[in-house]
Symmetry: C2
Subunit: 109 residues, 2 copies
DNA sequence: TGCGTATATGTCAATTCTGACATATACTGC
DNA sequence: GCAGTATATGTCAGAATTGACATATACGCA
């Protein structure tokens, strides 16, 4: 179990409906992770479509290759904000970004 | 100018195409802000639709009323991740979340 | 007026994220 | 085998975010 969930469980103080709360949190967390994965995929596609290396993109973002690798891997240390910034940094259009949000989500509807 | 942009400008070291870089960053930043505003709006709607107070939602999220207020105001200290978590915490469906991403974006297409 | 409820704003310690670096792996051409 | 290029993984100091608290504002109602 990751730190974010633990924190939320702690914050909730395990008050009521423990099992239900647990399932609910898992559910929300799962949706978040799926969204992140979807965006990470879209980023990789956007980058490769433009034939940019991770290093190229890193420079455009003012970041490092290693972080770009983590972004594309949807590493836990990466926020949605950062993935979106990366997608925009590839030069992706607004449309491309929008599609990224809806892309793989269908798989889990 | 906010800290995030400053940081990116600093990171880029003002190397080449200063003016162009500046405009590009403004553009990407603008898109990010618009996305955040769009999501914040969707959150407010999702919450009110379910007749939850900010306090109610705060409890569900294991957070505080003041932070929920900031989330809905798309405060600079609020990440997209947090807004999405808030939307999910209202009990919004995957569909509702998806619409949130595409909602106001049309305005700026 | 005073009270209750809902929302907004400022601050801050503790937690989390980020860029950077070192290093590892994988593939290509020589 | 050995460069060169691209990508992946572990670590960490410095920077940013978060929940919490105090407090302020706004509205309705008695």
């Amino acid at each position: 179990m990751n730190t974010a969930k633990l924190k939320r469980l702690r914050a909730a103080g395990w008050k009521i409906g423990t099992a239900k709360d647990f399932l609910k949190l898992s559910d929300e967390e799962a949706m978040l992770v799926e969204l992140k994965l979807s965006l990470a995929d879209a980023l990789k596609q956007a980058r490769q479509k433009r034939r940019l290396s991770q290093m190229d993109l890193a420079q455009r973002m003012g970041s490092s290759q290693s972080r770009v690798a983590k972004i594309e891997a949807a590493d836990p240390s990466v926020t949605i904000d950062l993935i979106v910034r990366a997608i925009l940094a590839t030069g992706a259009t607004r449309q491309e970004l929008q599609r990224a949000f809806t892309a793989k989500e269908k798989m889990v509807a």
